[in-house]
């Protein structure tokens, strides 16, 4: 079974802190995605990566950056956390053209 893990289930940070959210998949998937999920807004794509060191902006990249140094790991970085980045963050992975995305359990981030 595909397994996608995220470094934390719950995280509390203060405004201005640098925040790292880590995602690891164990199925050698090329594509990895970061979404945020907010009530009434559904899932919105922040960034995705289709290979090591390759990345592409999603619909809401502002305030975020990503890093993909190894195929299995995709990191989401909040350079200076703000309260409007309080959200549920979901990571997903897939092989190209295989359609199904496999999701991690999510990280609920609260920025105070």
């Amino acid at each position: 079974d595909v397994k996608v893990t995220q470094s934390s289930r719950y995280l509390v940070k203060r405004t201005g802190e640098k925040v790292f959210l880590e995602c690891v998949q164990d199925m050698d998937h090329e594509n990895m995605f970061w979404y945020r999920q907010d009530p009434g807004l559904g899932l919105r794509l922040i960034y995705f990566s289709y290979d090591v060191k390759m990345k592409e902006k999603g619909d809401i990249p502002e305030g975020y950056s990503v890093s993909r140094e190894k195929k299995e790991r995709f990191s989401l970085i909040l350079e200076s956390a703000s309260t409007n980045q309080t959200s549920m963050y979901l990571c997903a992975s897939t092989r190209p053209s295989t359609d199904t995305q496999y999701f991690g359990p999510g990280t609920r981030l609260t920025v105070l």
């Binding site: 559904g42 995705f48 999603g58 549920m88 979901l90 997903a92 995305q101 999701f103 359990p105 999510g106």
Partner: protein, 112 residues
Amino acid sequence: SQQGEEDPQALSIQEGENATMNCSYKTSINNLQWYRQNSGRGLVHLILIRSNEREKHSGRLRVTLDTSKKSSSLLITASRAADTASYFCAPEVRYNTDKLIFGTGTRLQVFP
């Protein structure tokens, strides 16, 4: 917005009843997928229907797709309390493979 939009936003039924959720989208698609999310967790892939298919079954799930109306429906038959979750449709936009557009979901509550 290109997102899939689910209707209704919330649905409450008794065990044994059927649950129908609808999805509309705005652009040409390669396929349309349905995902399930238990409260506070990641999403799990349920079923995929391709743009040249009209109906697909998987266990108690039945999905239809009408590309002329840009709509899809998910039917869960003989619902169980364990089906309580949020359900999301995710069209894969044509010529934009591997990227899914999620809606806000339908919250299904099945009472024992």
